[in-house]
């Protein structure tokens, strides 16, 4: 590997003036059933040899499309309708397919996004790596060793044994490493990395990106990194290109853009990015109250910009009564208490033999009324299982769940039915949580119907109120979920959850699938509602950065056990456990803007 590096490094020095990839005025059009749609317009970007450039944007910004055009991998209904793509001095915009096949693999490599669907499930990993080498003329007598070498460079331990396995036997992180190995196997000069770590846990993500960093620096490979995460982009790239609705709105040195964004869209992104923002969101009321006292808000507050941040000084305990005027002993009493909760699943083995799998192991925490408790963990931590048990959708193996003093486990029949009104969920996938066959009115009305509340006239009134509360126009009632965007569907899900005037809302990764700006909008909404209605939130998430913005208390879980639990401020400024520290350190971009 080292001899390659010097050769390439020397080459990089010689041609350091000429861009390796130069995209000029690129336009890409797609043929859809509604006619041609221009997905990318006037896109331009340059990558110098050995440089890492990140394209940042939300979904639909055209970032992936632009990068895929460079390697000639647009979908069949897409084509370059204008502009030029110049790679190392050669115009490859409309180059012959023979030439582009030559370039792929050994001049331009790609690491795709979803590790599960991007590896062919029926071939072994070693075979798929070897194929790459062979296609680019790099296999020879010792191809097996070469394959193992390439895999272990990418950070896959026991590479020789791993090469004989199939993709479904790997974890997500291992698959991604295999894809990186494939992308870099033939030492391309440019590597296109399309959201290479979005589907992974944050600690795995960090290690993989570190590895990628190290490899590309050693090899002198230029990297075109596509991501929606501004913090990640700024941390890993020298140059940032921000795209919005198919156009480049700003580009330049990464840190400078972060500290001094010029274009309003970039400013929006910087304000909303959870990894960069660092204080809990405040509801409008509290903000106004604070604005009178604190004179230092520099961004205008209006409907189009996400809320600015101001330090939270009002303690969570002093909250008003809940919406239906129930009396409380004192504000801030515990509404939800989890004690020694354990859940053991029986996994069926091969021939009836079953093994026990402890998903949740002796978890305890309590949530004061009117506050937000975040449960943070990576995949396999058991946090979603805890949420399901809190919703009484899954019976615990041991332990108790006390809701307002009442043991939830023992509820049956009518009592359980009534209990459901007080706790409601919001799920992660906005595309799965609304019944596609129900229009919005029926969706929001359903809780009222099930609990036989009111007659059809009063229900319609209630639905209108709820839509108003989530800032959706009343006309949405007649629409269907397939006509709404992800953020809009989540707002409908919130409206549905509010229909029964619950006390507690359990948000199971409720904003994880949303774009950054939409996410900020939904978090703001949740905050407002909490203020207005005295709601309590149990917020399940893997994203510590979001936790910072919305939670008062944090419980960190790992492999079913509670690792650390205290107030948000405490966890962020003074983490006691190693795992918590690792999680904090893994937040991309966290160290950049302090």
């Amino acid at each position: 590997m080292s001899n390659h590096a010097t050769g390439q490094g020397a080459r990089a020095l010689r041609s350091s003036d000429q861009p390796l990839l130069d995209i000029q005025d690129l336009a890409i059009t797609f043929e859809t059933s509604n006619g041609p749609v221009e997905a990318v317009r006037n896109a331009h970007l340059t990558i110098m040899p050995g440089e890492t450039v990140a394209i940042v944007g939300e979904s639909g910004s055209g970032k992936s499309t632009t990068a895929l055009a460079a390697i000639g991998l647009l979908p069949s209904n897409g084509r370059v309708s204008g502009g030029k793509i110049i790679f190392d001095g050669e115009d490859i915009t409309n180059v012959s397919s023979k030439r582009i096949v030559e370039l792929r693999g050994n001049s331009i490599g790609m690491v795709p996004q979803d590790p599960m669907s991007n590896l062919n499930p029926v071939w072994k990993i070693g075979f798929q790596v070897k194929e790459t080498l062979r296609a680019n003329g790099l296999d020879g007598a010792n191809s097996k060793e070469r394959v193992a070498e390439v895999l272990s460079e990418a950070g896959l331990p026991d590479a020789a044994a791993r090469a004989k396995q199939y993709p479904h036997e790997f974890s997500g992180g291992m698959r991604q490493r295999a894809l990186i190995a494939i992308g870099l196997a033939c030492r391309p000069r440019l590597l296109i990395a399309d959201e290479p770590t979005s589907a992974l846990d944050v600690t795995v993500q960090r290690q993989i990106l570190d590895h990628l960093d190290k490899m590309t620096t050693e090899l002198g490979t230029a990297v075109l990194l596509i991501t929606h995460d501004l913090g990640l982009a700024a941390e890993r790239a020298e140059k940032l290109v921000v795209m919005y609705k198919g156009q480049v709105v700003e580009s330049g040195p990464a840190l400078e853009i972060l500290r001094n964004p010029q274009h309003p869209y970039t400013q929006r992104l910087v304000n909303s990015a959870p990894s960069l923002a660092s204080r809990r969101l405040q509801s409008q009321k509290a903000k106004d109250a604070l604005a009178a006292a604190v004179a230092d808000l520099d961004t205008p507050v209006d409907g189009e910009h996400p809320a600015p941040v101001a330090p939270r000084t009002v303690p969570a305990a002093a909250k008003p009564v809940s919406a239906d005027g129930r009396q409380h002993a004192q504000a801030g009493d515990t509404i939800l208490e989890i004690k020694n909760l354990t859940k053991v699943f029986k996994l069926r083995g091969a021939l009836g033999k079953s093994t026990d799998f402890k998903a949740v192991d002796d978890v305890s925490f309590s949530v004061p009324r009117g506050t937000t408790m975040a449960i943070v963990g990576e995949s396999g931590s058991g946090k979603s299982t805890v949420a399901q048990m809190a919703l009484s959708l899954l019976a615990p193996t041991e332990g108790s769940i006390l809701f307002d003093g009442v043991e939830v486990n023992t509820l049956k029949g009518r009592a359980l039915f009534d209990f459901r009104r007080r706790v409601q969920p919001i799920f992660q996938d906005p595309y799965g949580s609304l019944d596609p066959m129900f229009n919005i009115y029926r969706t929001i009305e359903e809780p009222l119907k099930i609990h036989k509340i009111g007659d059809s006239k009063s229900r319609e009134k209630k639905v209108r109120e709820l839509l108003d509360q989530v800032s959706m126009p009343a006309s949405t009632m007649h629409r269907y979920p397939n006509e709404l965007s992800g953020g809009q569907r989540q707002r409908i899900a919130i409206a549905r959850a509010l229909a029964l005037n619950p006390d507690v809302i359990i948000c199971d990764e409720a904003v994880s699938a949303l774009d950054v700006l939409v996410q900020a909008q939904v978090l703001n909404l949740l905050n407002e509602l909490q203020e207005d209605l005295g709601l309590t939130y149990l917020f399940i998430t893997h994203d510590l950065a979001v936790v910072r913005q919305i939670a008062d208390h944090v419980t960190v879980m790992q492999k079913g056990r509670v690792v650390e639990a205290s107030s948000t401020d405490e966890v962020f400024s003074n983490p006691k456990q190693v795992y918590t520290q690792e999680l904090l350190n893994a937040i991309p971009g966290a160290t950049l803007l302090v």
């Binding site: 991998l73 979908p75 693999g105 590896l119 499930p121 194929e131 296609a135 479904h168």
Partner: protein
């Protein structure tokens, strides 16, 4: 893999019992005199009736009858036909013919079905695809016996390219026309399945990754698209073989092929229940074995299944 095989085998055992029980029940245990069923409604001498009763253990309770039937089935002690021949011998003569017919039909539908399906799938929306699609629809819509008649008429009689009916020995070349008719409907299904599978896999993420590696288009198509697309097709073909071996009653009737289907049909009409339950029993065994083989084949082709 072993565990998987074992589990599938265990799941198929109740199927075997269930299917044979069902048939036995239908033939022997329905209301009415089973002897009448055996004789097809024709009058019989009392001595013959008594002999039949003894042979089929009709004086015993149903479950014992069934148990004895199963025992006889696996020991191939299958009784006799009305004309006094050993059922097992009769089946032994007919099955190889059906097997030849079945394998020929399978070959036709596999080769042409996959070929046309792949081309249609790769060139979706173009002329070949549209033609193939329409043709396959027509083939499915026209009943097999009509197709059989028409082809027999045209190719056998008018053009004289093949014998209209098959002789007793049923050699391979005479079976071409019946095999074609038999395989035609399945051919249409194979084409459609292959086409759908290919067009689905063509847009898969891993195909894009394979292309990004710098593989030539040909290699991507064969090693990646084809390899994955053929999994459901191969399993369909395997299952089809199972049902082809079950005897194609209609086709054998039209072309007078002396195979199992013809045998079964005549036996049913004559009321020879012994033959019927024996043949059906064997068919069920073949079906079960074919299913097991298909499942194993599927697991071999798709590594993800092996650990389920």
């Amino acid at each position: 893999m072993v565990m998987f095989t074992l589990r599938r085998f265990l799941q198929l055992i109740p199927v075997f019992f269930g299917a044979t029980l069902l048939v036995y029940f239908l033939v022997f245990a329905t209301p009415g005199d089973p002897i009448a069923a055996l004789s097809g409604g024709k009058p019989m001498a009392p001595a013959v009736q008594a002999a039949l009763r003894a042979q089929y253990n009709l004086d015993q309770p149903f479950w014992i009858q069934y148990g004895l039937y199963l025992k006889n089935l696996v020991t191939l002690n299958l009784g006799q036909t009305f004309s006094g021949q050993d059922v097992s011998a009769v089946i032994g003569r007919a099955y190889p013919v059906t097997a030849r017919l079945a394998f020929m039909a399978l070959a036709i539908e596999a080769i042409f079905g996959v070929l046309f399906g792949v081309i249609a799938g790769l060139r979706k929306g173009k002329l070949f695809d549209a033609t193939v699609l329409v043709a396959s629809l027509v083939v499915i819509a026209v009943p097999t016996f009509v197709l059989g008649f028409v082809l027999q008429l045209v190719i056998g009689v008018q053009l004289g390219w093949a014998r209209p009916t098959v002789s007793g020995a049923a050699p391979w070349n005479e079976l071409i026309l019946p095999a074609l008719v038999l395989g035609l409907v399945s051919l249409a299904y194979v084409i459609r399945l292959t086409r759908a599978s290919i067009s689905e896999n063509m847009n898969a993420d891993y195909v894009r990754t394979a292309t990004a590696k710098g593989l030539s288009r040909g290699r991507v198509v064969v090693v990646h698209i084809l390899r994955n697309s053929l999994i459901p097709v191969v399993t369909f073909l395997g299952a089809d073989l199972g049902s082809l071996m079950g005897g194609a009653i209609v086709t054998e009737g039209i072309f007078n092929v002396p195979g199992v289907g013809n045998l079964l049909y005549k036996a049913i009409l004559k009321g020879e229940s012994a033959t019927v339950v024996a043949v059906v029993g064997i068919l069920v065994i073949v079906f079960v074995v074919a299913n097991l083989v298909v499942d194993l084949l599927y697991a071999w082709l798709d590594p993800r299944i092996r650990y389920v």
